[in-house]
Symmetry: C2
Subunit: 411 residues, 2 copies
């Protein structure tokens, strides 16, 4: 130990102390930290998962004042570098932060309640969707599967590829909906139309699919025409709140995250109005094990207006409208794997993304995909599929055997 | 129309108007009403399901002042008679009342919140359990299946008998728990021990089963000894709050109804403490599609201290304790059928029950069993099986295929 270290008052030691303070509030992840002056030290233990390098003191200050937004911005702008396996680093930090906050309940719930006050109008929803989904079909085509499914896959066999697991997910949803040929289905928030096309093609149903992203609807219409499905499948450029008529089935996969808590009851009312008395409905959404607000960086840069609900918060859709919740399945670990596969595809094209957009944009998306995978892996995020029906519907399935093709065949 | 009816002021017409007013507030069920003077008239439509006879004006007044308690007391005391199929009558009235109140949400929720203020202490819980479960094993043996399973059965084939469906339920619960030989299981509220014995005998696990009803524990201990299971199965006369140690599995079937909302978080904390990090837990309970207080008559005569939660209310067990809800299944219609079978068994011994206890007691239990079946049939009541795990447990099952023996065999 040299004299400078023993006094502990040099600027270098103060920087290190501040960084260790930040790391402590992040639950002391098993990483090492390198400063702009070359100093490197572990945060906890001997075998760091990866090394986090601060390229300037400014990055430390940004993390100190706004940990989540600060980290996201610094990483995107190149003020912070990660040496080693990027996903392993993000997983480790997320795990540490999650463990650290695992005793908290009321404060995160209060934040979620406050967040719920913000209502997504149809106009605001359009802006939010445009921000994310209208980045260009070419962008998503580079790292999603060929069907462009941008929601949790279902790995029903351990060796399934991403593309196989996405088809398995489409079938899993269709089976849960107990689709029968000739039925009418409405889909709220249909992405690039993969589920709508799958239902129309393989289950013989008539589908009306709603979406407010023009880029996605244009793509979906073109594909459906090419596959000769446009006679029983209609893509409508419109908000879920504009759904009219009544249908045998209601399905929404990956839209609820954008609806916002203030509109849950409205969404439930809509389903109540548009679902036939003996119909079945399914909502597939990212969720949480307990109420919490969105990550500040995600909200600012990735999903403006988004909210990820706990199961209890989701009850605002069902309970005031007297729906019966029939079935809830949690596919959290499937989404951790899905996001990890997207990230792996993304890494192969990240340089191209930098050229198309910018270096900053490219890094931002890497962090978003890794952070999402880590969120599901750590239990910060969940993935719920909820099947529900009108409370007075006595023709609901007796058991869930019909969902498992080992016993029952596909329609 | 005669003169008396046209003036509408005779005592007979006033009685009829009051009765029709009561029936209107009950949603105008398709029944007919007969008064003590022999007057009979339909409430709604032409084909009444059954006839409700008031044997005195006192009965009308009791229904007017306290509909639920009034009806239960009048029926039990013989001031009211039902002519025709009793279950069909109860189903019809329950259906009508449920439809009538189907727009309400905030008032029932407020009532449930107020009810939640009442806390079941261990002493109070003992009294409540004694009231219901210590009526004598002989009483329950007359109309339950031979295993004495007093919870919702699982009819996995349409033609299953009650006894078969109860075994299927035990297996369904065991499969959901993914039991492996040698694991340790704690059961909170074990009734007459059917599940505990089934787990120990067929799944090779070690079971500690808690119950505060002495009559049930005595029975269970005797049966377990006779079946040679007492080396890996212990029945403990004790409250769920006294569970110590850590276990691979936690299971509770039909106890939550007695816990009371005020203790949900305590129950969750207990599971948090006694479930190993990679453990699985299952709670099977009567529930509701939306918050509501217990029926006043049931609370007074059948289940003092009871509360039947909505799924949202149940989240007080899981969310503050950061459990991950993995799987929810609703078996409402199975319980409607189970209760109907219990009622049918009960009718065959109702006279014997009158001799053993009293005519009033016998009628009270008929109404309770019919009312329960009707509650599930109408959607007033639900039956939830919830599988959950610690939020940090990443060794949870990947899919639910393991629950369906078509694909995977029994351990």
């Amino acid at each position: 130990m040299d004299a400078e270290q023993s006094f502990g008052l040099s600027p270098g030691n103060i920087d290190q102390a501040i960084v260790l303070g930040i790391m402590k509030s992040a639950g002391n992840p098993r990483i090492s930290v390198r400063l702009w002056n070359g100093n490197e030290f572990p945060v906890t233990g001997e075998h760091p998962v990866a090394c986090l390098e601060f390229l300037s003191r400014r990055a430390v200050l940004k993390l100190l004042t706004a940990p989540s937004v600060g980290f996201g911005e610094c990483y995107s702008q190149g003020l912070i570098k990660i040496h080693g396996d990027f996903l392993a680093f993000v997983n480790e930090v997320t795990r540490a932060i999650t463990r650290k906050g695992s005793h908290q309940f009321y404060l995160p719930r209060l934040k979620s309640d406050l967040h719920a006050l913000r209502r997504n109008s149809t106009r605001r929803s359009k802006y939010n969707a445009h921000h994310h989904y209208d980045l260009g079909n070419d962008f998503y085509r580079m790292w999603l599967d060929e069907r462009m499914v941008y929601t949790c896959a279902y790995y029903d066999t351990p060796g399934a590829t991403l593309a196989e697991a996405q088809v398995a997910k489409l079938d899993h949803v269709c089976r849960k909906l107990d689709l029968k040929p000739g039925q009418t289905v409405v889909e709220a928030g249909c992405g690039w139309g993969a589920l709508a096309m799958h239902m129309a093609e393989h289950y013989g149903v008539e589908v009306k699919a709603y979406n407010i992203s023009r880029a996605q609807v244009d793509w979906a219409r073109e594909k459906a025409a090419a596959r000769g499905l446009d006679n029983r499948l209609e893509f409508i450029l419109g908000d879920y709140r504009s759904i009219g008529k009544r249908f045998d089935r209601f399905v929404s996969v990956g839209m609820l995250e954008h609806v916002g808590r203030a509109n849950y009851r409205t969404l439930g009312k809509l389903v109540k109005r548009c679902l036939k008395p003996e119909g079945l409905a399914l909502i597939h959404t990212i969720g949480r094990s307990h109420p919490s607000s969105m990550d500040a960086w995600i909200l600012k840069y990735i999903f403006p207006g988004g909210h990820v609900p706990s199961l209890g918060e989701m009850m605002a859709i069902f309970e005031p409208n007297r729906f019966t919740v029939l079935d809830v399945e949690n596919l959290r670990l499937h989404y951790a794997r899905t996001c990890a596969e997207w990230l792996s595809n993304y890494e192969a094209v990240a340089d191209k993304v930098s050229e198309m957009y910018s270096e900053e944009f490219s890094r931002m998306w890497r962090l978003y995909l890794a952070g999402s995978s880590a969120g599901f892996q750590s239990g910060t995020l969940q993935l719920y599929q909820v099947v529900f029906a009108h409370g007075t519907n006595n023709r609901v399935p007796w058991s869930r055997k019909y969902q498992y093709p080992g016993s029952f065949g596909r329609t």
